[in-house]
Amino acid sequence: MPKQGSLLAYTVSRLILALPTLLILLTVLFLVLRILPGDPVSALEAGHRSTRDIAADKARLGLDQPWWIQYPVYLGQVLSGNFGVSLGSLYIGQPVLSVIAQKLPATIELAIGGMIVATIMGVGTGVLGGANRDKLPDVIVRLYGGIIWVIPVFWLGLMLQLVFAVGLHWFPPNLRYAADPVIYPSPTHITGLYTLDSLLEGSLDKFAISIDHLFLPSLTLGLVISGFFTRTVRANLLRTINSDYVEAARARGVPERFIVLRYAFRNALIPIVTILGLQFAILFAGAVLTEKTFSWDGMGTLLLNSIDSRDYAMIQGTVIVYAFIIVTISVIIDVVNGLIDPRVRY
């Protein structure tokens, strides 16, 4: 038994708490989907087949049963690792987890790309603003932080497409990889992350094509998220830059640039690490619209299509995988926080 207050005990307790979170989410989602009007069979067949045929198909799939009979059956399947098969028009009959396994790498790749852009832009502009308080760079950074945060992601994506793809021809407008696999063969599937697979295959050409396609979607997603980072980094930097130990360093004649980067910035980063982790979760949600704008075939596109066709099993599976990722990241953040600051373990 891990000792109370130990990092291990804290980690175990966080993991145990994550399970009911997922169960509650699954239950609520299951109920909400059944309350919503429409169902997968009607979405597939209404308008073409008779009402009698539709009713028969619903009965065959067990969808004519009340939710309190369907739910235990579904829960039993999920607990045994079976998320069911798709009932929607796009993936009908295919196991939900196998479809998700195909789409998840695309979203992870986009989220990582977006996070890199957000971090570079957010931290860079935040430091620039914080180090030049109330000067022109700070004013520009504050404007950037405020405006970029409220720009709709699809609009920004479209603008970037028009400028960099249509106007300048620097980047392809959309898709994850070249549209012509005869001339540009795709990387061999290893992880599903095209950039990583290209490197594992040892092909820099394929890596370049992957990055080429990843750039605009990542820039779109990352820029929108970066506004929050900008403001947070700037605020934290201003707090630390006026602290006693920085004043002390300044009094000792330490150069300002050194003070900002060595002392103030490092300390300002501590709360930002926590925010970075949480933003990663938000990034997954933001990826839904970015994926649609760039025809990026990932989880967001899958979720949108599944909702449109009331594909109960696929929606439930997709949301649970999203939730699992977010809960996992949040547990990791909690553990890292516990590691940094032992007070949170008690």
Partner: protein
């Protein structure tokens, strides 16, 4: 003082009551429903707004607009929850009947949400669908269309456009009304082309596929007993050696008096995996579709429309042996059996296809779609990219030799990429990310590409599509249970305005549920134009609505809420 207050109060009550009682009667309201999630593209709200304005021009009703996502919309229309709504139709099989029986037969009308039922019309539908005699069919189709304009359960509005945008050096591109044929295209100096589409497939198993894109791929990968000419809806022999007719003895009657269709297969047919394709294979494939009866499939076309029934009677008289003859015994005579045998649902599949469910397209990264058509599906990345590779052993390379196409398929590969929407597809063709954009660009994007086609070195082909758009009335629901209300709206709608203002001219006005110009014998008759005119007649619409006793305000507070039981 008290008396004065009492008098003032009484006067106030009196004035208030007079204001309430003497104010003009509120205009009754009706609700127009439309899909809000882009099933018919992003033009639907604009169409609904125009129709609303056209109906409201009568001054007799106000029109509320309500929208739903596609899944809810389809469920609600089938349940009879939508009193007046916009809908579209793409034909299953290429016959005039597919624009008649799904709408005007009692069972068909129920699934369309109009709940129209007329015993005489049912009889006419049966009569037209059970004969191949064009004179008899024409007579019934004329009666049916005339009746449709009298009863008005639907108002035909427009035919959508078919379009394709492609590199100007690609040849052999035809906007075929049934299936887009990649195997007759050529691009000099290239052995492949890349295509962009916004379509999504369901499955490439003929027993499950029932959407345009799945059918399009199936038609490149599988041949059916009969196939279409490269440019129009004329049937040609495919796997079979001739198109059955009464004249050549292919259509006959069995000892029990049942109608029969007999097909003779070409000898020595094989699927691309080497397994044989003979009369038994065809029989098993048809029986498999009916036995599985998969949710969302086109099984009903074989079982119900083609009258094969749940347990079809299919003979293979020369099996074992050459095993090339197959005879279908129908429960009732069917005049459009040949058309159904050329639909993707009737495509034969190898014996090893899943007999207990749909065949998965890909299992462990291995493609499991096996046909005998001009192309093979080789590298699908599900819902993202589909690669069609030339079937070097195609049994019928000279299929279109008489049309000046000596051999098919021409290109080695066709690579189809999926895009999320019209704007993405436009960017793809504009930047030459793909060589061709086929389905679906919205009118604005299409118009823009048409304007810049020459500078981009592109060609834009526009044609009419067999897809029709129309207004549906649930005739069991007030006020649309009154035919005069439906007729009034037929007078009020302005098709030209919709075509011009919403579709920039990329659509064609439609005056019958049967679109003109698609079928060999053209049975279409513009009955709505004859009766209601080419342009709106607001005076007649107003007069009909005035007589329809709408002014009592009964529908003023008509509930838009729909009761939804938990399931």
């Amino acid at each position: 003082m008290i008396l004065a207050i009492v008098v003032i109060v009484i006067l106030a009550i009196g004035v208030g009551a007079a204001v309430v009682l003497l104010r003009p009667a509120a205009t009754p309201s009706i609700t127009l429903w439309y899909n809000s999630t882009g099933h018919y593209g992003d033009t639907e709200p604009a169409v609904a707004q125009l129709i609303k304005a056209q109906i409201e021009a009568t001054g007799k009703v106000t029109v509320n607009l309500q929208s739903e996502d596609w899944a809810t919309y389809r469920a609600d229309l089938a349940k009879g929850n939508l009193p007046m709504f916009l809908l579209g139709w793409y034909p299953d099989y290429f016959d005039t009947d597919d624009y008649i029986s799904p709408f005007y037969s009692t069972s068909g009308a129920q699934s369309q949400g109009s709940f129209y039922s007329n015993a005489t019309v049912d009889k006419w539908v049966t009569n037209e669908s059970t004969t191949v005699d064009t004179t008899i069919r024409n007579s019934y189709f004329q009666k049916l269309q005339n009746q449709s304009a009298t009863d008005v359960p639907y108002i035909p509005l427009w035919m959508t456009n078919a379009h394709v945008v492609y590199d100007s050096d690609i040849s052999g591109v035809f906007l075929h009304p049934v299936v887009f044929k990649y195997f007759i295209m050529n691009k000099p100096g290239f052995d492949h082309i890349t295509v962009g589409t916004t379509d999504s497939p369901t499955s490439f198993d003929p027993a499950l596929a029932y959407d345009y894109f799945s059918g399009e791929i199936i038609n490149q990968v599988f041949d059916t007993l009969l196939v279409y000419s490269p440019t129009n809806g004329t049937l040609l022999p495919g796997l079979a050696t001739q198109v059955p007719s009464v004249t050549n003895g292919g259509i006959g009657t069995d000892a029990n008096g049942n109608q029969t269709y007999t097909f003779d297969l070409r000898p020595g047919l094989k699927f691309t995996d080497g397994s044989s394709l003979n009369a038994t294979t065809v029989k098993n494939a048809i029986q498999r579709v009916i036995r599985l009866n998969l949710a969302g499939s086109a099984e009903f076309l074989l079982e119900q429309v083609a009258e094969l029934g749940r347990t079809p009677t299919i003979d293979t008289p020369n099996c074992p042996g050459p095993c090339t003859r197959i005879v279908f015994h129908l429960n009732k005579p069917v005049g459009l059996f040949n058309e159904i045998m050329s639909f993707s649902v009737a495509a034969p599949v190898p014996w090893w296809y899943n007999q207990t469910g749909a065949q998965q397209d890909v299992v462990n990264s291995v493609v499991k779609v096996t046909g005998e058509g001009p192309y093979q599906l080789t590298e699908p990345t599900l819902n993202q990219q589909y690669v069609l590779t030339k079937n070097s052993g195609y049994y019928n390379p000279g299929l279109y030799a008489s049309f000046g196409i000596p051999t098919i398929p021409i290109l080695n590969k066709i690579i189809i990429n999926r895009y999320s929407d019209s704007s993405s597809l436009k960017l793809a063709i504009q930047t030459h990310q793909v060589n061709m954009a086929y389905r679906t660009l919205n009118p604005t994007d299409l118009s823009s590409l048409q304007g810049s086609a020459a500078s981009l070195n592109l060609r834009v082909d526009i044609g009419t599509s067999p897809q029709i758009r129309f207004l549906v009335f649930n005739i069991k629901t007030a006020p649309f249970n009154d035919p005069n209300v439906r007729r009034a709206i037929a007078y009020a709608v302005d098709r030209n305005s919709i075509v011009t203002n919403v579709f920039h001219g990329f659509a064609v006005t439609l005056y019958s549920m049967v679109p003109p110009g698609f079928f060999g014998p053209d049975y279409s008759k513009p009955v709505f134009q004859t009766i209601y005119g080419s342009s709106p007649d607001i005076a007649k619409a107003t007069s009909l609505l005035s007589n329809a006793k709408l002014a009592i305000g009964f529908y003023l507070f008509q509930a838009n809420e729909i009761e939804r039981p938990w399931t």
